[in-house]
């Protein structure tokens, strides 16, 4: 667990009476893409949202065990949840741009963090849009509404927006599920590029996507972590019968 960007230890959590994750211990290495796969309702998204404490907003949420980001507990009282979220960025299933211009969408995080110098903001804007491979497409219309972009562009804008806060870790919750194949291919390229700078934890439904992108893959089933390892190994020589059945498409 040492040197892990994200880690959980004996994590059990759920909502009210309903336990979603049971005794999950996972370690995510830095600057790698780690995919979380598993059938619907297995707790992938809930696990992802433990790392930036987004579950805390939902009614009846409880959590036992440890959730660590860079070795530090996310519930450390000296670590306000807002600054945790500057470190751990997140992109959602559906593109969710704000009702603002492209520029203001990207600069939303930096402005929250108190960045005010125009030169610095401009630099962040360009860098973030470039890292999301969106700069060339939008550089001439930065002040138009973000809603005028296509779905794929909106999703990459959301990545740029998450990157603008300068996070070390990016949580991607099925980011391509609402996109067409071409936009998906474009997005995957962007994600591969990003992994050179940040740790990526990717929830996906699509096993080909996991195989294409992820260095490591973790398989969850009914709230338990079944198996975790190098992607190639997990897909070609799964150690668990359950994993094999899932990756070969016998259920899911």
């Amino acid at each position: 667990m040492n040197g892990a960007a994200l880690a959980t230890a004996a994590l059990t959590c759920g909502f009210g009476e309903h336990t979603v994750l049971q005794d999950v211990s996972l370690s995510v290495p830095p600057r790698r893409i780690t995919a979380l796969i598993g059938p619907s309702g297995c707790g992938k998204s809930t696990l992802l949202r433990c790392f930036n404490r987004m579950n805390d907003h939902l009614p009846g949420f409880f959590l036992r065990g440890k959730v660590l980001v860079d070795g530090r507990s996310v519930y450390d009282p000296a670590w306000p949840v807002e600054s945790l979220r500057f470190t751990v960025g997140m992109v959602f299933q559906k593109p969710n741009p704000f009702p603002l211009s492209i520029r203001e969408n990207v600069l939303f995080g930096p402005r929250l963090a108190g960045v005010a110098a125009p030169a610095e903001l401009e630099e962040i804007l360009v860098r973030s849009l470039e890292s999301a491979q969106l700069w060339e497409e939008v550089k001439d219309r930065l002040d138009t509404s973000a809603f005028a972009l296509s779905g794929g562009q909106q999703q990459r804008l959301c990545i740029a927006r998450a990157m603008a806060s300068g996070p070390d870790i990016l949580l991607l919750d099925e980011p391509a599920s609402a996109l067409d194949p071409i936009a998906t291919a474009r997005l995957e390229e962007t994600i591969l590029e990003l992994a050179e700078r940040v740790t990526v934890l990717l929830v996906t439904h699509n096993m080909q996507q996991a195989a294409r992108l992820a260095h490591r893959t973790a398989f969850l089933y009914l709230g338990r972590l079944v198996e975790e390892g190098e992607t190639v190994r997990l897909f070609e020589a799964p150690q668990e019968k359950l994993t094999e059945d899932y990756v070969t498409g016998r259920f899911g």
């Binding site: 930036n52 997140m90 704000f98 603002l100 939303f108 995080g109 779905g151």
Partner: protein, 536 residues
């Protein structure tokens, strides 16, 4: 039978029913607007002056305003004639049985005089009398000289008004000291100091006002010196001071261009002028201004109040018995008769809050109230209270329409709850808020009953916003188009003459509401366009 059942089952009947309902609603609206527009549009159009010779030998001159069945004689009709000349005949209108008319002509030399007092005068000019002597009406320069005299008279009147305003400003310190002195007397305080101040202020006022008074005397003499000698239809002569004439027109000789010019000039006077003759003549500008300012003040008060309430209910409060009760109360508040709000506004805003303000800040002048009496501020706040449910409901709908994904997106970027609300949720909900504002404006601009208790008056020439510091005089009473309609149409001494004014005022009120609404609608559609999601 089966045919009917099928007719219903296939929805044809319902479609016809829906269409008929729509048609009826449209017919009623078009009818209302049509009547208002046609009456008020034709009111300002110059009518020819008709001279009628009657069987009795009498001659009358006037505008024909209508023909109706004579209630006194079967199968006979009578004409409604506006004969003006109230100072001569005592009445503006008379009815003439058509059977009694023996001769009828349109005299080319008849003139219409619109006067500051006593309404219109219809007659034939004889001469213009002035310090330089008499100019007969058949002199070629008569029209030109009369126009010059009218222009000079307008200048004199404007100057007179200016002097009077200045004089009343000079009097203000004295009036205030008098009130304070009276209050001190009542409280049994020592008043020698105040009496000294009052004497000094009076002396200074007289000193400063002396040149004004001297000028006024000269002005009035000069104004009274120029007179128009007119002959009525029955050949009585009248001397009419030119200073009392607003407009003199040889109506029957007017060309089409002249008629259009007169028509436009009358509209302009109506929209921009002060009322005359207990509001039945002149303009309605103070009422337009009062209505617009009152609606704006109401909007300024109701939008923040409604939005904050909705934000609390929707974003912060949990769903429990309390918020349920609040929502129920809001829904019911929307159905409370507006006069009840007026009574509440009078008791709470005027007497309680206004009285409190007076005791705290204007105790010198008590018992003469400053804020403790109806005024535009209290009227606006009362209407804000009346319209708050509309804004709350619309804003809540707007807030509920903000996608959870967008809220989550902001929270995931490290925004606090307040930052999310302020920077993402509220902008997203702005169209909903504007919808509420539009509905509130539409409701508020049309209310009259609560205003009658909280600050509207028949005549308030001093606008609540003017050039004297502190510029906003929110304690002042104001005029309102809706009340104007009620007052002129149903309370005025000369209803027959004022009726078309009422239609024109209705038209202006409708246009004002439309204008206020269009502003908000344009704003909303612009925001909508910005918000229209291209998301999948």
């Amino acid at each position: 039978m089966r045919g009917v059942r099928r007719w219903i089952a296939e929805g044809t009947a319902q479609r016809w029913l829906a269409g008929a309902a729509l048609l009826m609603a449209l017919a009623m609206i078009v009818g209302l607007v049509g009547v208002v527009v046609s009456v008020s549009a034709s009111f300002f159009w110059p009518r020819p002056l008709v001279e009628l010779r009657l069987a009795s030998g009498a001659v009358v001159l006037g505008e024909e305003w209508g023909r109706e069945e004579d209630p006194g004689a079967a199968n006979q009709s009578r004409l409604r004639l506006k004969t003006g000349n109230r100072d001569v005949a005592g009445l503006d209108f008379r009815w003439v049985r058509e059977a009694e008319v023996t001769g009828r002509r349109i005299p080319a030399d008849a003139w219409l005089l619109e006067r500051r007092e006593y309404g219109n005068f219809y007659g034939v000019p004889r001469s213009l009398e002035g310090p330089q002597g008499s100019l007969p009406a058949d002199h070629p320069a008569f029209a030109q000289r009369l126009e010059a005299a009218l222009a000079e008279a307008r200048r004199l009147v404007a100057r007179e008004e200016q002097l009077l305003r200045r004089a009343s400003r000079l009097h203000e310190p004295v009036a205030e000291l008098r009130l304070r002195l009276a209050a001190a007397h009542r409280q049994g305080k020592d008043t020698t100091g105040l009496e000294g101040q009052l004497a000094e202020a009076s002396r200074r006022e007289q000193e400063a006002a002396a040149p004004l008074v001297a000028e006024l005397v000269v002005l009035r003499e000069r104004a009274a010196a120029v007179e128009l000698v007119m002959a009525t239809a029955d050949a009585q002569e009248r001397r009419i001071p030119v200073a009392g004439v607003v407009r003199a027109v040889p109506v029957n000789r007017l060309s089409a261009g002249g008629k259009i010019a007169l028509y436009l000039a009358r509209w302009w006077e109506f929209l921009s002028g002060e009322p005359r003759e207990s509001n039945t003549e002149g303009g309605i500008f103070p009422a337009i201004f009062g209505t617009a300012l009152m609606v704006l003040l109401m909007t300024v008060a109701v939008v923040p109040l409604g939005v904050i309430t909705a934000v609390y209910l929707n974003e912060y409060a949990r769903d429990n018995a309390f918020t349920g009760a609040v929502r129920l109360a809001l829904a019911n508040l929307a159905g409370v008769p507006s006069i009840v709000f007026g009574a509440f506004g009078l008791a709470f805003f005027v007497y309680t809050v206004g009285g409190g303000v007076d005791r705290l800040f204007f105790s010198d002048t008590l018992p003469t109230p400053t804020f403790g009496t109806g005024g535009i501020l209290w009227a606006s706040l009362t209407l804000a209270l009346l319209t708050v449910p509309v804004v709350v409901v619309a804003t809540e709908e707007g807030l509920q329409a903000v996608p959870q994904a967008v809220r989550d997106g902001a929270r995931a970027l490290g925004a606090t709850r307040w930052q999310t609300l302020r920077r993402v949720v509220l902008p997203y909900a702005t169209p909903g808020i504007l919808t509420g504002t539009i509905l509130a404006v539409a409701r508020g601009a049309g209310e009259v009953a609560p205003l009658m208790l909280t600050g509207v008056v028949k005549l308030a020439p001093a606008l609540p916003l003017d050039g004297t510091p502190p510029f906003f005089h929110l304690e002042r009473k104001f005029m309102h188009l809706g009340f104007h309609i009620y007052d002129v149409g149903f309370q005025s001494p000369n209803i027959e003459a004022a009726k078309p004014m009422v239609y024109a005022t209705v038209l202006v009120l409708l246009l004002l509401v439309v204008a206020l609404n269009l502003t908000a609608i344009t704003l909303r559609s612009r925001l909508r366009r910005r918000l229209r999601s291209a998301a999948v």
